[in-house]
């Protein structure tokens, strides 16, 4: 049993959202999304309605625009998109279709990570059924043609970064692009492109089906709507949970049976390690922002293991394009290993902190910028686990 809480999405009637969208002019669909206050469910939290509006209004020289569903769910600890695609693919595909209508796209691509290849056939079945029902293909509505293709990824975490994903879709190494220009202005093949997370599209369908007011009434003022969370690690009941944004971390832990946790890595490898003393903090864009990963660490865990595992992850998954990330991830891994071996002087620790700051400040993309986060949060909250020599706590 993977889904641990009732899912609002299970009660959203298939087709209602698309019908509601097609009964309005596209600009009003965008307005509804703006009114919902929804922010991207992938983790970065960009306002979805604004993203759609920018793509709709961007100049498209050859008239093409694209809708891309980011199903490259590679953030360690995250698996809610897998569950959504297995259980509610229709809502995701419907959300893509709504987005296509809203921004004037004719083509949607679902970039499915290679690790989820077992979902491909059922997605293709869903697409076929939707075509048969006239929900995809020519004349979905008068003057609105839209179809969706599934494009397989090939195993690269960085492709979850939207501009790297676009590079990958174009047949290249998944190296993030410089922004600006943002994909909404120049995305796939240079055309305005909306890239949204799987969950974002599913909720977009719900917003259209139930109205933006409904969505905005859930959560906090700045973090509206429900959020799916992937909970794993040292808990009794790992799985996907739905909570309104603004839920305290402690409440999630209570639900999953992990109240004795020493810490939680929230947001995966790119997130941060939240100590038990801060479990009162909330999951929200104004506090602990996350795409929904909770990796719970029990009371007996030695957290330097976490630091090393995450550092190994980034040293492998850095795209290798920019200097601070390519070299910094290796230097950080080296630093963790030296800490473990007790080979770090206070000066070395200070240097590692500075290295983390350099990577945050100078890396080209979110991957590199966030790659020292877990390390730095562990140094701050768990200096003993991290073998920080005594006398170098603060700085």
């Amino acid at each position: 049993m993977t889904v641990r809480t009732p899912m609002t999405l299970s009660a959203v009637e298939a087709g209602a959202g698309l019908r509601a969208a097609l009964s309005r002019p596209p600009a009003e669909v965008v307005d509804q999304m703006v009114a919902s206050g929804m922010r991207g469910r992938g983790g970065a939290g960009f306002p979805t309605g604004l993203k759609w509006r920018l793509a709709a209004e961007a100049d498209a020289p050859d008239g093409r625009r694209y809708v891309v569903c980011n199903a490259d769910e590679g953030e360690p600890g995250t698996f809610k998109d897998r569950v959504l695609l297995a259980k509610h693919a229709d809502l995701v595909l419907e959300g893509m279709t709504i987005a296509g209508y809203a921004i004037g796209a004719r083509e949607g691509l679902l970039y499915l990570r290679a690790e989820y290849v077992y979902l491909r056939d059922s997605l293709l079945d869903s697409l076929r059924e939707r075509r048969e029902q006239g929900l995809l293909g020519r004349e979905v509505a008068p003057g609105f043609d839209f179809d969706i293709r599934v494009h397989m990824g090939a195993g690269a975490y960085v492709c979850g970064e939207e501009s790297a994903l676009l590079e990958s879709l174009e047949g290249r190494r998944g190296e993030p692009r410089d922004r600006p220009p943002y994909p909404v202005v120049r995305g796939l093949h240079g055309a305005p492109t909306v890239v949204n997370n799987v969950e974002t599209f599913a909720w977009a369908t719900a917003v259209l089906a139930r109205g933006p007011e409904w969505f905005a009434s859930i959560g906090t003022h700045r973090s509206t709507g429900p959020k799916l969370l992937s909970v794993s690690g040292d808990v009794a009941r790992p799985g996907v949970y739905e909570f309104p944004l603004g839920v305290p971390i402690a409440e999630v832990l209570r639900a999953a049976g992990g109240t004795d946790a020493k810490a939680v890595v929230v947001g995966g490898a790119a997130g941060s390690c939240v100590p038990a003393s801060e479990f009162g903090r909330t999951v929200s864009y104004e506090d602990v922002a996350t795409g929904g990963a909770f990796i719970v660490l029990g009371p007996d865990r030695d957290l330097i293991d976490v630091a090393e595992n995450v550092a190994e992850f980034f040293a492998d998954e850095s795209c290798g394009q920019c200097a601070p990330c390519r070299l910094g991830t290796v230097a950080l891994l080296d630093g963790v290993r030296r800490l473990r071996a007790g080979n770090c002087t206070p000066d070395d620790v200070a240097r590692l902190r500075r290295l983390g700051a350099t990577m945050r400040l100078t890396s080209k993309c979110g991957l590199g910028q966030s790659s020292p986060n877990v390390f730095l949060s562990l140094l701050e909250h768990f200096p003993a686990d991290m073998r920080v020599p005594v006398g170098t706590g603060g700085e």
């Binding site: 690790e115 990824g153 195993g155 790992p238």
Partner: protein, 164 residues
């Protein structure tokens, strides 16, 4: 660009089919390479040069793509077992599963068994943290794996044909 002289006619035929399915432009590169990887195991020198010639891109760029993506790299075997090494699986006992797998397979990570049946790889998060430790066996997921499961898996894979 010249088409390289490739003796492997099955490779050429498969590539033609993949290009027909995915289109013969650059955006077809990943699906085409993934298709070749699936049907022929390791993406060979000949395959890379052939793809490069057909898509009109330099061979080094095809190599650049192959070496960038975990699922395009790697050796030739009928079955690929990918063991998640990321946090949740690691906490749940992936190292024991890995150790057992390595022993059963008798070859280091990334190298096929002598009978060409199995190659094991350590990969990053496969998105099944709720069922840690988890594996991917070719295109299937295997959840909540114990070392004993891993041993049984290798035994059964040795007798199975390449998935199609």
């Amino acid at each position: 660009m010249l088409t390289p002289p490739v003796a492997d006619l099955a490779l050429v035929a498969d590539l033609d089919a993949l290009l027909a399915e995915h289109g013969a432009d650059r955006s077809a590169l990943l699906p085409v390479l993934a298709g070749l990887r699936r049907r022929h195991g390791e993406i060979s020198d000949a395959a890379m040069q052939l793809v490069a010639a057909r898509l009109g891109i330099p061979p080094v760029e095809v190599l650049g793509v192959v070496t960038f993506y975990s699922f395009l790299r790697g050796g030739s075997a009928r079955h690929v077992v990918r063991v998640c090494r990321t946090l949740a699986c690691e906490l749940a006992g992936a190292p024991d599963v890995w150790a057992r797998l390595e022993r059963e397979v008798g070859a280091p990570a990334g190298e096929a068994t002598s009978d060409g049946a199995v190659v094991v790889e350590r990969v990053h998060c496969i998105g099944r943290c709720d069922h840690a430790p988890a594996l991917l066996v070719d295109d299937r997921a295997l959840d909540d794996v114990t070392p004993a499961d891993a041993a049984a898996l290798v035994a059964s894979l040795r007798g199975e044909a390449r998935p199609t």
